[in-house]
């Protein structure tokens, strides 16, 4: 497939008339590319650090209205409350605001969080809660993690920010060897449950090697911590509050491309969403698809694309939400219903988290499976700069995977 076609396919991930035009025969691809380009023609300012993900605005997974949002049974506690239009970074900001307001021992710290953070997640917090509770750290990830662990070991709630998930590796030792094992090796004398490390992750279109990685697989291999990835503002707020309040060290990975792209009516009240529980986004009987974070929007479009080839296709789309511990029951129940499974993620294929899901499902649902489990992941290469669109499993690849699963 030529470069232009693939690039247009990626750009046409929104279900607007543009992508429908693409799906019809005979439309020149060049026309499509140009119209999308003018659609995003901006002034002389550089592209936003969070990138563009146009498909999200039209997504069915986003709760655009007050009633839509509150129809969720998990939000029963705030069902009578107000909602407010927020994007993901505002929802995260709101969650931290509530956490700081309800927990006197809570502090937020990290590089540049004082002025609001490079993605504005901490806007206004220093002004509201004081610079002794919301403060900048020097450029030391290992120090930030270790410092947070120490604070949490004393019973405080430490909300640490690692500016990009790609920078979390100096802190890897602290997280894996200190935070994860504290409760175990001290026989319960100490724990660092109050620690929550927040970090932006995922591809943005121009991030290159060190601003695009999704390291959830490295951390999923560590008993003792929790790993959570939200897909939208409502989810982000509830899951972040749950992660902060959960008495286990948690890594909260925020897909940075969703910071501005995803806008929902988010309940303003204090609510948590359950950790360790996946959410079934659409019910279906033919195929189970599991994803998390921004990939869900790619999958949604892939399903739409696949349905044009296979009308009547009924897909059960599951948002895993928590990578560790992951909701084995929900996924396996679903696969037992449909008999086919597809998993997609942005991280490279070998030893990506899809491998863990696939193995477990194979163990539990072997006789029920009708087709090999499909894993749509990135190429096993370092995250490239110019080749990003070839590297990640985009809408077209995922649609092909769906076809393969159905036609086995």
């Amino acid at each position: 497939m030529s470069t232009t076609l693939l690039r247009s396919a990626r750009l046409a991930s929104s279900l607007s008339s543009l992508s429908r035009t693409f799906l019809h025969q005979g439309t020149t691809v060049k026309h499509l590319h140009t119209s999308l380009k003018t659609h995003y023609a901006a002034s002389n300012s550089p592209p936003p650090a969070e990138g563009f993900l146009p498909g999200v605005a039209n997504s069915q997974l986003i709760k655009h209205t007050h009633h839509d949002a509150l129809r969720n049974p998990e939000l029963a506690g705030v069902a009578n409350g107000e909602t407010k239009k927020m994007n993901t970074f505002q929802a995260i900001n709101d969650a931290m605001s509530i956490a700081l307001a309800t927990d006197d021992t809570a502090c937020v710290f990290g590089e540049d969080v004082g002025f609001g953070g490079v993605f504005r997640c901490t806007m206004g917090l220093a002004e509201m809660f004081g610079r002794d509770r919301v403060f900048n750290t020097p450029l030391s990830e290992q120090g930030i993690a270790g410092f947070g662990i120490g604070m949490a070991a004393m019973g405080s709630t430490a909300i640490a920010e690692i500016q990009f998930a790609d920078y979390i590796f100096p802190a890897f030792d602290q997280i894996v060897n200190e935070a994860a094992k504290y409760r175990y090796r001290s026989g319960g004398e100490f724990n660092v449950g109050g620690l929550c490390i927040r970090t932006p992750c995922g591809a943005v279109g121009h991030g290159g090697h060190y601003h695009s990685q999704s390291p959830e697989a490295y951390f999923a291999h560590t008993p003792g911590i929790k790993v959570v990835v939200p897909r939208s503002p409502i989810q982000a707020k509830g899951l972040l509050l749950a992660s902060i309040r959960d008495r286990n060290p948690t890594i909260f990975m925020e897909p940075k491309i969703l910071y501005r792209a995803a806008v929902e009516m988010v309940p303003v009240g204090d609510y948590e969403l359950p950790l360790g529980k996946a959410e079934i986004l659409t019910q279906g009987k033919d195929l189970t698809i599991v994803g998390w974070g921004a990939q869900l929007y790619i999958l949604e479009n892939a399903i739409q694309l696949a349905k044009t080839k296979m009308p009547g296709l009924s897909v059960e789309l599951i948002d895993l939400r928590s990578i560790l511990p992951w909701d084995v029951e929900t996924v396996c129940n679903s696969v037992n219903k449909t008999g086919r499974l597809l998993i997609a993620h942005e991280a490279p294929k070998t030893q990506g988290f899809a491998a863990e899901i696939a193995s477990t499902v194979m163990e539990r649902c072997f006789l029920r499976l009708e087709a090999p489990i499909q894993r749509l992941c990135s190429y096993d290469t370092p995250f490239p700069l110019v080749f990003e669109k070839f590297h990640v499993p985009d809408m077209v690849r995922c649609a092909e995977g769906i076809e393969r699963a159905m036609k086995f």
Binding site: P47, L139, P170, G208, V386
Partner: protein, 390 residues
Amino acid sequence: MLSTQKISLAKVAAKAFITPLTVRTFASSAVRNVSINLHKNSFESYNCDAPALDVEISKEELVRMYKSMVTMRRMEMASDGLYKAKLIRGFCHLCTGQEAVAVGMETALTAEDKIITAYRCHGFTYMRGGSITSILAELLGRKAGISGGKGGSMHMFTPNFFGGNGIVGAQVPLGAGIAFAQKYQGHKAATFSLYGDGASNQGQVFEAYNMAKLWELPAVFVCENNRYGMGTAASRSSANTSYFKRGDYIPGLKVNGMDVLAVHQAVAYAKEWTVSGKGPLLLEMETYRYGGHSMSDPGTTYRTREEIQHMRSNNDPITGLKQRLLEFNIITEDEMKAIDKAARVEVDQAVEEAKASGEPDLSEFWTQIYQKDAGVPSVRGREPEEMHYY
């Protein structure tokens, strides 16, 4: 002071820390040299002597320095324009204002010395042999790029320049390792590991200091202190802002990094120090960037425009050298203008060449993950059937 007589090399070297380059020029008696007195505040030392304030340097060298700085600034300005035109994507960290560090270092070193730095690396790449076309093409992500278009702004390399590194502070222990290899392999050369004021608080920097001192490595650690780590002022990130003293057991030297001759003098001194077996040395270059941290940063939210303007007017490295060139009658104003014009033409041409270069072949996506023919027959792709076989 002009001197054309032949002086013994030993006497010359015994004078204030003259570089091998200048010694060579001395020996060829046809070259005319200048003696320039640096300002008394150019250096501040910690547990070592400061270099001498009088610099012996050839006129040709001075003109070369001027040309390099002017070309470098043009190149960075061209990159700025290309980024705003959205031809460069991703991240772009420009060194406008910091030219004196890269140029002063290069003139004091040889090709055998190694340099490694962080992401503000375009200037160093140029000085270490990268052509302007290859640098701009790399920024544009094209085939003609110095890393084949695969690295981008932060990942540029030449045979004696180890990049170009994205993770802050990670390049410093690497520098210590390169210095170790030099010592082990018996090279009479040094490794210069650069990092910024923000990076100076990374733990791995101190690990590198310790190893370098323990094993007396020919490592020079250079802190390019441009006062701001992204948007954080040095005083708000560092408990001790005397970065040249942070080496504790490693002697240090603070240098006026906006004066290319001071940089030159200090780097020559540092090289002589380490290569003569005295172990590592720390340099702090007091410098300043006019632009923001990167192209996404206007650079004005954490510092005043007055400060930037003040530095531009009073401390600009190019203007400073220009004044010296005129003062010592090295070249005329017209010749200077000709150099400026030639630099602009050179950079403009390089921009066109870089733009004309095509994008890297898709085949490059799978190369250089491992060593070629390393027994890795394939790379798995996005779906089960998508395999790339070598």
